[in-house]
Amino acid sequence: MSYTIASNLKQAIKILKESDGKAQVIAGATDLFLENLPSELVDVSAVPEILGITRGKDFLSIGAGVTHAEAAASSVIRSEAEALSEACRIVGSPQVRNMGTLGGNVINAAPAADAAVALVALGAKAVLTDLYGSSREAFVVDLYGGYNRSSVDSSAEILMRFLLKPAQRGEGSAFLRFAPRAALALPLVNAAARIRVEQSLIKEARIVIAPAKPAPTRLLETEKLLLGAKPGLDLWQKVKSTASSEIEVRGSMLRCSEEYRCHLVGVLARRVSQQAVVRAMEAE
């Protein structure tokens, strides 16, 4: 029956272990606090092991406890993972960005969580630690377990960090969202892309759209279309039509109709790819 601010990973694990599954991890609280709280909470937002942004030789490591504000302000993230930078900049409001963490964004598992969409497009992996000290890696997309449900049990595992490949030569990423208000709004559609070009031809492409399925969804057909292609009007037209036809989306009274969302998926997939290509070409 308690709220404990863990000062390190060991302490956090200890409390989780001793609580017999009753305690749950809490970070920025911006999602969890609006739900029914469990009887025991372990606040990990000050655990040094899940904080910080580090650039290794061939990886970028971002702590799960990094807030949206920190991520948006990070020059490393801007240069190595621009899509994530853009996504974090647009979350909620300054107040929400100051508290909300990337880890919480992923584990809360909202279908169109902004940072999660960018992370999936960037091919990020999550590093998790269980209560016995063993850790595992998983793609961010695989942490989704259903609508608004994570496959991670936050009373038995701690999300530690995200690992990304830094932007390579000829690579660019971008994030776009279409929302009904300029701040404090959930998107009708958001989209992220990571694209690599070589001599003006697209060599790698990951395009992600949400909300469509429980998790941010890759547009595999669209990606296929892009591979090997030379960017041009014709290609972009096809990207738009392929993207809107390759996945099913749902409409909702509060956001928009199914038909309109489907149209937006096409437009945003195209625009975000175009943006990523422009950046990729600049990086060549």
Binding site: M1, S2, Y3, T4, I5, I26, A29, T30, F33, L34, L37, S39, E40, L41, D43, S45, A69, G92, S93, P94, Q95, V96, N98, M99, A182, A183, L184
Partner: protein
């Protein structure tokens, strides 16, 4: 949750309170410390009228579990006035500018708005119009259309810079 002792700095004073840690910081401030300047408009982070500073950053106090502030620094609208000088009951240049520029109408959003402006000016002493709008984009105001708030924050920025450069300046 069971009550526990929470120690923190509140408006530059050490305080401790025995409280349910799952109570919101907003309720803690209002109900336990009688600091009624921090208002409640929605309880879900959608309006920003409950904005306070946590370690200098603007946050929605309605979304902060009381347990989270253990060992940290909380500043509310009541702590702003005394920030400028040691004496109590003095107005901060932001408050002054809000009044003089017509940024206060019904006043319900004002404390939260001022806290967001305060956080902005700590980090960015001479913001652009756009940066001001961005910084207050989590604070709804229904009266003002935000224009005079924007003008007030820009004016306060000028005054604060002036005061920094000329400490005796009034």
């Amino acid at each position: 949750m069971k009550e526990q002792v929470i120690n923190f700095q509140l408006n530059d004073e050490p305080v401790n309170v025995y409280s349910d840690p799952s109570l919101s910081l907003l309720k803690l401030l209002r109900n336990r410390f009688n600091l009624l300047g921090t208002k409640e408009g929605c309880g879900r982070g959608d309006c920003g009228v409950c904005t306070v500073l946590l370690d200098g950053r603007a946050v929605n106090s309605c979304l902060i579990p009381a347990g989270k502030v253990q060992g940290r620094n909380v500043c509310t609208i009541e702590g702003i006035s005394s920030k400028s000088t040691a004496k109590a009951a003095r107005f901060h240049p932001i408050q002054q500018a809000f009044v003089e520029k017509g940024a206060v109408q019904c006043g319900f959003c004002t404390p939260g708005m001022i806290m967001s402006a305060f956080a902005l000016l700590q980090e960015n002493p001479s913001p652009s119009k756009e940066e001001v709008r961005e910084a207050i984009s989590g604070n709804l105001c229904r009266c003002s259309g935000y224009k005079q708030i924007e003008e007030a924050v820009l004016e306060a920025a000028k005054v604060m810079i002036c005061q920094k450069e000329h400490p005796g300046f009034k």
